[in-house]
């Protein structure tokens, strides 16, 4: 029996064990390696994806639980790698080893969708579920703030009336 869902705007039909966590579905069956395995028990956040726009931990989500859902992974966050979070991440040179960063970015982008102008406390708390073993936390937090600024500038410029 196959399960249908949408991944990064593409409809897919998968005929695999419906208990397969979404993480391994993506990595092993869709060749989408951007979503990472860090712990397998939803403690570290490296596996964060969006399910119907909500940030969730794919390592504990069986495929059957996301049947017919709309999944966004790091590969689908933007077409050209230019989501404000991705831009901010590069601008502030956030990554060290880089392994946790996809999960951090998906969490950050989700946070900003809900709170486009978060306070420092909201950023720190909102990101505290994602572990970074390299300790790049300061830049992660600064990059979320910068992304928020970038996004609001974009918004202002696109809503500006033509002269």
């Amino acid at each position: 029996m196959s399960i249908q869902l949408t991944i990064n705007k593409k409809k897919v039909s998968l005929d695999i064990d419906p208990n397969t966590p979404l993480l391994w579905t993506l990595r092993d069956h869709m060749s989408l390696k951007g979503t990472k395995y860090g712990c397998g028990i939803a403690q570290c956040g490296a596996c964060t994806v969006w399910v119907n726009g909500e940030a969730m931990r794919s390592c504990v989500l069986p495929l059957s639980a996301v049947a017919n859902a709309d999944i966004t992974t790091i590969e689908g966050l933007s077409e050209k790698g230019d989501h404000p979070v991705q831009v901010a991440w590069d601008q502030l040179d956030v990554p060290q080893c880089g392994y946790c960063q996809a999960g951090q970015i998906m969490t950050a982008a989700s946070l900003l969708k809900k709170k486009p102008n978060p306070t420092s406390t909201e950023i720190v708390d909102g990101m505290s579920g994602n572990i970074c073993r390299c300790g790049t936390y300061h830049r992660i937090q600064e990059a979320v703030k910068l992304a928020s600024d970038i996004a609001s500038k974009k918004k202002t410029s696109t809503t500006k009336k033509p002269a």
Partner: protein, 690 residues
């Protein structure tokens, strides 16, 4: 140096890493393997500059820093540079490894020379073309500028430059003219990382590859039998087999292997399997024995301590801890029928992997190829090739390309830990509060020499005795970021804080007084430069406003490791009855800072790493099994638990020294001393019990 020319008109320059420094080799290669350059600096006729970065990238930023050095001396614009990761190439590189914070120190001169040599060859090519003197030409941003407005891009000169003899002694830039070195350069892999490209070892996918997980025995135990009757029938499972006390489950996909693995049961044989009580006994015995190994002796400690006006003593202890990089251990191996081997994955020591696999499989090293993936952290764990050997052995047994992946539980309980150590310090103070006698015994479990006997303040103290005892354990250990000093640094700096307090001295002034002694009239051998120590201490005192922040408790520490000097002041305040570290000021002397952005990342990262592990990390043993096994109980520091950090660098232009590790050893000390200043509670064990 070795250069090679191509029909396309590209200029390629090989670094000859094996030449003694300051000498240019005059090797000219006439044969070029089709499609595969043996050179590490290429400039095409279109002016594209390709630099190959040889060392494995683990998050320390070397993949960016190395090319920065080359590009600076080559005098091209960084935006025109493309960086590629080199795979293992023992013909053209040496020391292709990541560890010991040694890469930049080792390669600084070679990298500069390679860039400067190429730049000189472009000047010579232009001079020849224009029929002017080379001395009348300069360069800027990849362009040679001649007299009377003559200009030529490196790209346009590439074909001619490739035919010229390699000059022996190029000239180097003055550091005041640096355009890239010392500035912030963004990581060359950022675009790949933020878009989720498959660049890590765990992401490797090769044709025909199968997945395996391995059940490993408790420490000290042997595999007696295993039952895989159910597992072997499960969907996607190809084989379940044992080798060297381990049981491998091989299948088509990760989830299938995980499911099948849970259905395998193993029986073990083991005597004297270790538990917490075993380790405590060994520590106690190690502290009591009269058979310690003397590591350092100055003056006469026994006499001096007997005469001391005051004696200060303390014992410190740390547990085994795991490295727990975010990417767990994994490796790909394909042992083919023709005896050739492809290894691919995250390793800090690819050449050692190549050698070890060649030995294991009894094949020529030349038949073992190693591809380097990015590493999702390592912290020293990936200096050990156990997991690469396992993958190679398994591949040779099942005769298939296989990726062995470790689950987080496998990784956390699988060994090669930071060793457990107990330290006993004893100091004798004279009537003026000066330390005249200093004693340390370090007892480690698989720690080797658990002391660093020549470290400051040794060299400034009249009577010193440093001893070590090593107890052999079946728990495997290996280097962990700033090996030994990652805990010794805390113990020593916390102890010296007690010494300062007992002697009525300011801890900073006490160090400065000792350094004056070490500088002018050292006691025995010293391995550090007192002036560099003094500078970081003075700057840390100033930048932290030492003892000048009302209502803020502060703790000081300073440490020399991997040839760099780091002084720290941590600030603490009581919050809801508990001491909280609010800020850390760190001043580092690592010589020339190549990439300021990467350097800050290393300092802040090492401090957070040191603090988090000091506060939270611990493995316990029961009958040879380590626990806990995952992050729900093995706590790593998170983003809402960190202090603010100011990282400063001494600007002295000395050739670069280590940066990946040096900020970690002093961290436990500055944090513990700040906690004491705030709460009057001394810390003697890690994890801290606050």
């Amino acid at each position: 140096m070795q250069k090679t020319a191509f029909a396309t008109g590209a200029f390629c320059l090989g670094f000859d890493w094996f030449q003694a420094q300051g000498k240019a080799g005059a090797m000219v290669s006439t044969a070029v393997e089709a499609g595969r350059f043996n050179a590490f600096l290429e400039i095409s006729s279109l002016g594209k500059v390709i630099l190959y970065s040889p060392n494995p990238e683990i998050g320390q930023g070397i993949k960016t820093a190395f090319p920065v050095v080359v590009a600076e001396e080559l005098d091209v614009d960084w935006k025109d540079v493309e960086v590629r990761q080199a795979n293992l190439d023992t013909q053209n590189f040496e020391r292709q490894l990541t560890g010991g914070s040694g890469a930049l120190k080792h390669s600084w001169d070679r990298l500069r020379k390679a860039g400067a040599t190429a730049r000189l060859m472009f000047i010579q090519a232009a001079a020849q073309t224009w029929k002017v003197d080379a001395s009348a030409c300069k360069t800027a941003g990849g362009v040679v500028l001649g007299p009377a407005g003559l200009k030529a891009t490196y790209g346009s000169l590439a074909a001619l430059a490739a035919t010229l003899p390699v000059p022996a002694e190029p000239t180097y830039k003055n550091r005041k003219d640096y355009k890239i070195i010392g500035k912030r350069t963004k990581g060359v892999d950022n675009a790949n990382v933020v878009t989720g490209k498959p660049v890590f070892g765990l992401d490797i996918q090769k044709p025909g590859m199968v997945i395996a997980q391995i059940i490993r025995p408790p420490f000290g135990a042997t595999l007696k039998s295993f039952d895989a009757a159910d597992a072997i029938k499960m969907p996607g499972i190809i084989d379940v087999l044992s080798f060297k006390n381990k049981v491998a489950i091989v299948g088509e996909s990760t989830w299938q292997v995980m499911q099948a693995r849970a259905a395998v049961s193993c029986k073990y044989d083991g005597q004297n399997l270790e538990s917490e009580s075993t380790h405590k006994k060994w520590f106690d015995e190690g502290m009591a024995t009269d058979k310690a190994q003397v590591q350092r002796k100055d003056g006469d400690f026994q006499t001096a301590i007997a005469k001391a006006a005051k004696v200060v003593e303390a014992t410190y202890e740390c547990p085994f801890i795991s490295h727990s990089p975010m990417e767990p251990m994994n490796f790909f191996a394909d042992v083919r029928a023709d005896g050739s081997v492809l290894l691919a994955g995250p390793t800090q020591v690819p050449q050692s992997a190549q050698k070890a696999v060649a030995t294991l499989l009894k094949v020529d090293e030349k038949k073992v190829e190693v591809e380097l993936s990015k590493m999702g952290g390592g912290f020293g764990r990936r200096l050990n090739n156990d997991y690469a050997l396992e993958a190679a052995e398994l591949s040779s047994l099942i005769k298939k390309p296989v990726k062995v992946m470790w689950t987080r539980e496998d990784d956390m309980t699988g060994g090669i830990y930071r060793p457990a150590v107990r330290y006993h310090f004893k100091a004798g103070l004279d009537a003026s509060g000066n330390m005249t006698a200093f004693y340390l015994r370090g007892v480690g479990l698989n720690a080797g020499n658990a002391t660093r006997q020549d470290n400051f303040p040794v060299g400034a103290i009249e009577n010193v005795l440093v001893e070590s005892v090593n107890q052999v354990s079946s728990v495997t250990t290996g280097p962990w970021r700033a090996p030994i000093t990652n805990f010794l640094g805390f113990a020593e700096q916390a102890f010296l804080d007690e010494v300062a307090e007992a002697g009525g001295k300011d801890p900073i002034q006490m160090r400065l007084d000792w350094l004056a002694r070490a500088k002018n009239n050292p006691v025995g051998k010293i391995t550090y430069e007192p002036d560099r120590f003094i500078e970081v201490i003075k700057q840390a005192a100033e930048k932290s406003q030492w003892k000048k922040k009302p209502g803020v408790a502060q703790g000081f520490s300073v440490y020399f490791s991997h040839l760099s000097y780091v002084a720290q002041v941590a600030d603490a305040q009581m919050v809801n009855g508990k001491p909280k570290i609010t800020h850390v000021t760190a001043v580092t002397d690592c010589g020339e800072v190549v990439n300021l952005s990467g350097a800050e990342n290393q300092i802040k990262g090492a401090i957070i790493d040191g603090m988090g592990h000091a506060m939270f990390a611990k493995l316990r043993f029961n009958e040879g099994v380590a626990a806990p096994a995952n992050f729900n109980s093995y706590r790593l520091i998170r983003g809402n638990e960190i202090p603010t950090i100011d990282a400063h660098f001494v600007d002295n232009g000395i050739a670069p020294t280590g940066l990946g590790e040096p900020a970690l050893p002093p961290t436990g000390g500055s944090v513990a001393n700040a906690i004491y200043a705030a709460s009057k509670k001394r810390l003697y064990r890690q994890p801290f019990d606050i």
